[in-house]
Symmetry: C2
Subunit: 110 residues, 2 copies
């Protein structure tokens, strides 16, 4: 068995890396957000901070009602209790979302 | 106090995000690797897996002596015990390295 696993991402849609790479503690997904769309809907997290990296394009994030500009090279950490929403400009941001994996039954970190 | 923190990365050098974004469990750095260089030197980890994402450019990774091609869009998870080394082609890969944060004294995960 190799001491590594590898995946090459496509340009479109959403890829979840936890199962694809057999990750242990991390939960990472890469998302392409169509122009004019917002994703995900306004939501909060119970206990895990989330870290967002913008890989391509630009847009804005709304965090607790505050709007901030985002573009490639921007990283944002968001507290669990913060309400968040993301919007893509016409350049179509490509968003990387990462955070701790949470057990869905116990809501404890794995 | 805001429920988020934000940083805009520069194009060059190495940026460590743990302190910059007040992360809790994650250790993330973004690195630009000059053409022809290899970084870091061959090394292993005691217990934390590492996850590498190639953001720009192309090159190769040597993992336990096996050479694999890497380019933008490739993600690789590497076991703690694996020896690893990275090389940049002339396109200068921009490497994102992430993993669990480890206490340097106790070698336990924080």
């Amino acid at each position: 068995m190799n001491n590594y696993s590898k995946i090459s991402l496509s340009e479109n849609g959403r890829t979840e890396l936890h199962d694809a790479l057999s990750l242990t503690g991390a939960e990472i997904s890469v998302n392409s957000l169509p122009a004019g769309a917002s994703v995900p809907f306004v939501h909060v997290h119970r206990q895990n901070e989330e870290i967002y990296a913008v890989l391509e394009g630009k847009g804005k994030a709304e965090i607790d009602g505050e709007s901030i500009e985002i573009k490639a090279g921007v990283w944002v950490r968001i507290e669990p209790k913060a309400q968040r929403r993301f919007f893509a400009d016409h350049d179509r941001p490509r968003l990387l979302l990462g955070g701790r994996r949470i057990d869905k039954k116990t809501q404890r970190e794995l």
